[in-house]
Amino acid sequence: MKLGNLLIAGLVTGSIYAVFAVCVAVWYRVSNILNLAVGDFAMTGALGVDYLYRVRGWPLPLSIVGTLAVVAVFGYVYDQVVLRLAQDGRRRQEGIVITFFFTFALSFFIDGVAKILFGTDVHAAPALWNGNSLTVAGNLHIERAGVLVLGCAVVSGVMFALYIRYTLSGKAMEASGENNLGARIVGIDTRRYRRIIFVITAVLAAIFGIVESPITGFTYISGATISVTGFIAAAYGGFRSPGRALLAGLVIGIAEALLGGYVSAEYADTLLYAILAALVLARPRALGFESAIGA
């Protein structure tokens, strides 16, 4: 019974990691840039909806659409202005600067703007599916928001995995990241893929932030933590495969819940991080880092 409830709790936390891991992995695959602002888009989604709905008194559907539109437009503009200058200019930037630092800076910027707009308190978007927690198989409990979260994670991970595996444009997207110049030579507009996937993952993160916020709540600086967990889970998924990122996120979430339930609630996170670090050091190749090191 305890095990069952822990597994459910782990799956819900795990799907939070998983969605962000999928967003990080998919965009890294197309652009070779780590999106360390992915959590900040989630925060923007949650706090934006809360702001429009609760403070401004907009109807909920309009608040959601409005927030997502703002995120999409912002993502588009950021790509057109900053990433275009950084990556498409005459002196194309490569290496650790572009891989890490532009999105670091973006994360700072979004957090700063959110602080001005939304203040520093904890808020959440309203729950989308109201009601008591569901009871399954006797007395296992799962919150309704948790079901949505899990659903979102699985749908987005599977969707991207299928997209890359079975569609022509998915292959083209993959080629963009694998060999940018080569892809451009055969007529793939790599910049367009980078832009589209950036906007899609930003919006997806924002949607997920809205769905997930009733469980955890958000402040203007919650984004960084989420990005880090997404980054870590994406890492264990080999950084390039959305399917593996999804799986890695779920496994990490379950491991965290089990450690908390059976070993030590206080040191669950610490233990988890130590195990994760040991794994990278012991088996970098098996985890798929070899292919990712080119960054």
């Binding site: 800076a105 700072f108 700063g112 090191i293």
Partner: protein, 625 residues
């Protein structure tokens, strides 16, 4: 035809500054004098405390410029070591009553020891694996510190002793400031010395291209560990100064956010410049305290600041400053060099490069080389023996029982269709690829299990199929990489003594020998492909190898260029053993003593050039008759 933009030039100037003691002293002196003046003038005002904090961070970021900027590897470890230093001082202060000033060196050594332990595990991986493994450090440390009561938990830990105890509070602040500046001065001196020494050149190459570094004898694993320890010691020292000046160690000092802001300072200032790292720390600290609007919206300001700076120049403020200086001065250093190079590189370099045999002082280089290469104690015995070399990747057999033996002198061709395993065989002989079976003997000694670095020191040198030069450094420095001697001393030896001038001297000899002396000062990315190949060739021969492995040296060269290279190779073949992988069969047949043909991993032919020309096997495989 070679027009370096001011930016490229400025970068070359920025990165390959002369390794003189004078320059180091000047940089250190500048930091110390300005720092002390600022302390005396503003020490007792609010600005003083901001500046002390900025200098404290600068101690850490100067170390990061060496550790991260040069190695091009992100390790999220500095905040944790800063915390280690700060909590260390606080603990010593609380439990033994040791003063902060005395505790600082103790915790710095302690940080070094911890870093040695941690680093020997962590630095085995690189790239994103290193980033992921080390991002756990601040997460772990935050979790640990916030529940450790003896460290004050999530609040933090107070201290009672300042770095400097003055008679009045004002004097204490100024004293603290001056001690901080002095510590920063020591750090700057050490870091600048290391970067401008031969070790600095090794670190640079290591950061840009680890494979080339290994092939040129740089002890890569050891240098990576040393970098980690050095950066961690500076961070520990910075933490000690933090504790001693702020009199409080907040738990947030070890948080991921603290780590990120340290990285921000480094990258805004310029990741590969010591002065830049200091300016970055000052700029961010100053901006945060500039006005109440800014400090309320610091995240927005920092986000915009770093985006703009990195868009303008990935080398940060230091890069921008260098570009501006170059513009203002109208590129003084560049002009002459560029003009020379145009003269030399246009029909050029290698026009002279045909001359080594007839060379003047050049013959010295040739003679000592011939002495070294020929000075083996087993007359008549082969230099290189490959016995039954196998290589498979999973189920794919790339090399199949390859056996060959080469004498100490002469040119030996290795031909074969694409995918025959030629480059793999070179890799196995050079050490960059490990054989699945068989033995490689060099002068009778088994080197099969040796790393490329060790084999380089035994006299195995190579070029790559695609040119692997170190962009951002001069031709001279590119060649000097292979002349750094035994590469034995530790990183700290760079502080005491630089062997860079020595190595550059040897590199100049090799360049003169090839008639390329005129190119020495050029930044390599501005060179033609032919010149780049010749620079790589010069790098390969500068250490006077006993065995020279050349991987398609003529690919991409024109007919006249090939002829010039052919003459150079003939001369070199009289001094040493050359194993030449090449698709130009005419050239191979003209200059080789013996030719080997590899097909799908196995040797299918070996013989003289005449036999090679007549062989049916060769014709069917390589000529398609």
């Amino acid at each position: 035809m070679i027009t370096l933009r001011p930016k490229t030039q400025a970068r070359a100037a920025l990165l390959s500054r002369q390794g003189s003691l004078g320059g180091t002293v000047a940089t250190t002196g500048l930091v110390v004098v300005v720092g002390i003046a600022v302390m005396l003038l503003f020490g007792q005002q609010y600005a003083g405390s901001v500046i002390i904090l900025a200098f404290t961070y600068a101690i850490v970021t100067a170390g990061m410029a060496v550790q991260i900027g040069f190695s091009q590897q992100i390790a999220f470890s500095q905040a944790v070591f800063m915390g280690l230093g700060a909590y260390g001082v606080a603990l010593l202060n609380a439990h033994t009553g040791m003063s902060s000033l005395l505790a600082a060196p103790v915790v710095t050594v302690g940080s070094g020891l911890v870093a040695l332990l941690l680093g020997s595990v962590v630095t085995r991986v690189s790239g994103l694996a290193l980033a992921v493994a080390t991002i756990m450090l601040p997460l772990l440390a935050t979790g640990y510190v916030s529940s450790a009561n003896y460290l004050g938990g999530s609040v933090g830990m107070p201290l009672t002793s300042n770095l400097w105890s003055g008679a009045t509070p004002g004097a204490t602040v100024v004293g603290d400031g001056i001690v901080t500046v002095a510590v920063l001065g020591i750090v700057v001196f050490a870091a600048t010395r290391i970067l401008s020494s031969d070790i600095g050149l090794e670190l640079y190459v290591l950061g840009v291209d680890e494979r080339t570094a290994a092939a040129m004898g740089v002890p890569t694993a050891r240098r990576k560990l040393e970098l980690f320890v050095l950066g961690s010691m500076f961070a520990g020292l910075g933490g000690a100064v933090y504790a001693g000046t702020q009199l409080f160690v907040p738990a947030t000092l070890v948080s991921p956010t603290a780590e990120l802001s340290l990285l921000m300072m480094l990258f805004v200032g310029g990741r590969r410049s010591i002065l830049g790292a200091i300016v970055g720390a000052l700029a961010i600290q100053y901006v945060s305290g500039a006005s109440s609007w800014v400090s309320n919206n610091i995240l927005v300001v920092e986000g915009v600041l770093i985006t703009v700076v990195l868009l303008v120049d990935p080398e940060g403020l230091a890069g921008i400053a260098a570009t501006l200086t170059a513009r203002v001065r109208g590129r003084p250093a560049g002009r002459g060099v560029v003009a020379d190079a145009v003269v030399a590189a246009e029909p050029g370099v290698p026009a002279e490069a045909t001359a080594p045999a007839a060379g003047r002082q050049a013959s010295d280089f040739g003679r000592t080389w011939a002495d070294r290469a020929g000075g083996e104690d087993r007359p008549g015995a082969p230099l290189l023996e490959c016995a039954g070399i196998d290589k498979d990747y999973g189920g794919l057999q790339v090399l199949d029982k390859v056996t060959l033996a080469l004498p100490p002198r002469g040119i030996f061709g290795l031909c074969g269709p694409n995918g025959a395993g030629k480059s793999t065989l070179l890799g196995v002989i050079g050490g960059s690829i490990s054989a699945s079976g068989g033995q490689v003997l060099l002068g009778g000694a088994d080197v099969t299990r040796m790393a490329p670095q060790q084999r380089f020191h035994l006299g195995v040198s190579r070029t790559f199929q695609a040119v692997h030069l170190i962009h951002g450094r001069s031709v001279l420095d590119n060649v000097a990489v292979s002349c750094l001697g035994a590469h034995r001393p530790g990183i700290a030896a760079g502080i005491v003594r630089s062997r860079l001038a020595e190595a550059r001297g040897k590199a100049a000899e090799a360049l003169d020998y090839l008639g390329m002396g005129g190119l020495s000062g050029q930044e390599v990315s501005g060179l033609t492909l032919e010149s780049q190949r010749m620079v790589e060739f010069a790098r390969a021969i500068a250490a006077k190898p006993r065995l020279l492995l050349l991987d398609e040296p003529t690919s991409g060269l024109s007919e006249p260029q090939r002829d010039r290279l052919k003459d150079v190779l003939r001369t070199v073949g009289e001094m040493t053993c050359v194993l030449l992988v090449e698709h130009d069969l005419t050239l191979v047949a003209q200059i080789s003593q013996k030719i080997y043909v590899l097909a799908t991993g196995g040797l299918v032919f070996e013989g003289t050039p005449d036999e090679f020309r007549q062989s049916e096997v060769v014709n069917s495989l390589l000529v398609g008759l």
